[in-house]
């Protein structure tokens, strides 16, 4: 009997051993397979995203020329940019642009999400119509916006000059930098609020209806329900969207440049510096690096101080 148990113990141990072995070979196989499947993507991202970013930082210390080699110039690019008043002007334009587009997009998105969360006829159709601005290519909608504010034929001047007599003459709102920035902001809000709305709506739909019913029994009015139930529930998603929106809008190029050449946010300023006129690629690289570090600084500030993560 004792021999029998002994032998069965041995068998069990043997089985266990092979199982462990199998497990470890399976883990090893998984490891190898895991890396080989993801390797092409990782390689491409490293080679074409991470390397360029580092190379850009390197370039910012050089006087870059496409035909001849690069000449090391130390911090000359940086100094020149920091002394350039155009840079500070475009930085402040960018700040105004980012603050107002982010605030506007978030508020419009939140409001729309709350409205669309209620039941009403044709809701499905209306929900997809609202997504159109976000879906349509930037290039295909900028000209319609330009026409709306066109000084001769546009509907804006038709209403505000011909009918309401608010202005003393017809003029182009997109034409002058001081007004164009507000049109660019309005355009960005229009283009991006559907994304915010969609994100918030999917969070709203997950809120337990019972919470509202309980609040109603306790005598809460609409505002109180919004303040004490809706807002805390969407708090996280709204903050995440604000963070993303700041990152995206800080780097925005196409939505500004294609609409008007009069609003020089940092990306546009860099583009013009690097690829038009004398094509100063070194300064362009420096500008891009500065823009990147300003953004990182802001993100750290926002995450630490505002979100308190």
């Amino acid at each position: 009997m004792s021999r029998f148990t002994h032998s069965s113990d041995g068998a069990a141990a043997a089985i266990k051993e092979t199982a462990v072995q199998k497990l470890s070979t399976r883990a090893q196989r998984d490891e190898r397979l895991g890396w080989s499947l993801v390797a092409p993507s990782v390689f491409i991202i490293l080679a074409l995203i991470l390397y360029p970013v580092l190379y850009n930082i390197y370039l910012s210390f050089f006087d870059v020329s496409l035909s001849e080699g690069n000449t090391f110039s130390g911090l000359a690019n940086h100094q020149e940019i920091l002394r350039d008043s155009e840079f500070w002007k475009s930085l402040s334009t960018t700040m105004i642009y980012v603050i107002f587009t982010t605030a506007g997009t978030t508020l419009a998105g939140l409001g729309t999400a709350i409205v669309m969360n209620k039941k009403f006829p044709l809701r499905g159709l209306i929900r997809s119509l609202i997504l159109l601005p976000y879906v349509a290519p930037v290039i295909s909608v900028v000209f319609a916006w330009q026409f709306i504010f066109d000084p001769v034929n546009g509907i804006f001047m038709d209403i505000f000059y011909d009918r309401l007599h608010l202005f003393s003459e017809r003029f182009s709102l997109i034409g002058s930098p001081s007004t164009a920035v507000w049109i660019a902001i309005l355009f960005a809000i229009w283009k991006n609020f559907p994304f915010t709305y969609l994100m918030i709506l999917s969070r709203l739909q997950a809120i337990d209806e019972n919470l509202y019913e309980a609040a109603e029994i306790d005598g809460a009015n609409g505002w109180q329900k919004f303040r004490h139930i809706t807002l805390p529930e969407v708090y996280f998603v709204v903050n995440a969207i604000i963070l993303l929106r700041v990152i995206w809008n800080f780097n925005k190029f196409e939505e500004v440049y294609l609409l008007t050449s009069n609003v020089k946010v940092l990306s546009v300023y860099t583009y013009l510096k690097a690829f038009t006129g004398t094509m100063d690629l070194g300064q362009g690289a420096t500008l891009a690096v500065l823009q990147f570090f300003i953004l990182i600084g802001f993100i750290l500030f926002y995450v630490k101080k505002v979100l308190k993560w």
Binding site: D30, E31, L33, G34, L37, V38, P40, S41, V42, I44, I45, I49, P52, V53, Y55, N56, L59, L66, G111, V115, K118, F120, I126, L129, I130, L132, P133, V135, A136, P137, I139, S140, V141, F143, A144, F147, I148, I155, D158, I159, W190, P194, L244, I247, N251, K252, F253, Y257, L258, S267, T270, Y271, A274, L281, A285, A288, V289, F292, L295, I296
Partner: protein, 320 residues
Amino acid sequence: MVKRKNIFRSIGFALLVFLIVMFAIFPFLQMASLSLKYQWDWGNPSFIPKQINLEAYKELLNIGQELKNVPESIVLLLEEQPDLTDAQRKAILAKYQDTGDVFPFLRYFGNSLILASLAALMSVTLAVFGSYSFSRLRFRGQSAVQRGVLFVYMFGGILLLIPLYKVFVALGFISTPTGTFISLMIIYMVQTLPVSLYMLGNYFRTIPFSIEEAAMIEGASRFGTIWRIIIPLSLSAIVTVYIYSFMIAWNEYLFASVFLKSFKEYYTLPIGLKTLFNSKNAIWDRIMSASMLTALPVIALFMTIQKNLAGGLTSGGVKE
């Protein structure tokens, strides 16, 4: 009293919905209406054209352009010479046809289509395997890879533009149109790859592992399960991600404008349209109809994935 308040409320609500919808679609209405208007009708603020003008669309789509710009005397002359061969007729007519130079819409459309569909295809193919790897397999560095993918969101296009341009110039790609086209294709693939990886990874995590396990117990290899189970089950997600990547590439302007600057034949729609707008050929109806034709494929594609997204494929596949 209560009832009256309710009526006011629902009217107010309907008004709110109407305002939101108008805000969203007003520029589209403007675009559609202007593309159908004659020049003398532009100043008219109404969206309904007094007389429908399809000339701009016909010109862009190259419909019925054979006899446009051809002087009447030449047309008469051709009619009176029945012994001319077709080839000769075409040669004579070709001298007068220069609409293609105004804005070769179909050509730019084709360029955009090739570029975007190939870039999206490469991106999605890589992403299927990459995202399967980090959403399903355990390996060292897995979470670093996953987080690294998200980190890429922080880099704006302008930060990558200068170094990538420099690199591709140094490699000699930019000197030929084909090389430029290929470098743009690679860049678009890279730009959409992180999004594809992220979206597909999220989707794969929703597929119950028990389905895969069952297949593997029956002797299927990992590749076998990816091919026979993961891909068919996530087909709707893959199509969605493909279309999303396609849209990103279709809309791209920044890189295209720098890389393709000297190859007019290879322009994509965004640069083509921007160039048209700044040229002497800029006429509102032409610009608006080109805008419409640029937006329509993308909007149509989006509408198809919107429906696809609703069908949860996994719910029928396994029962807990």
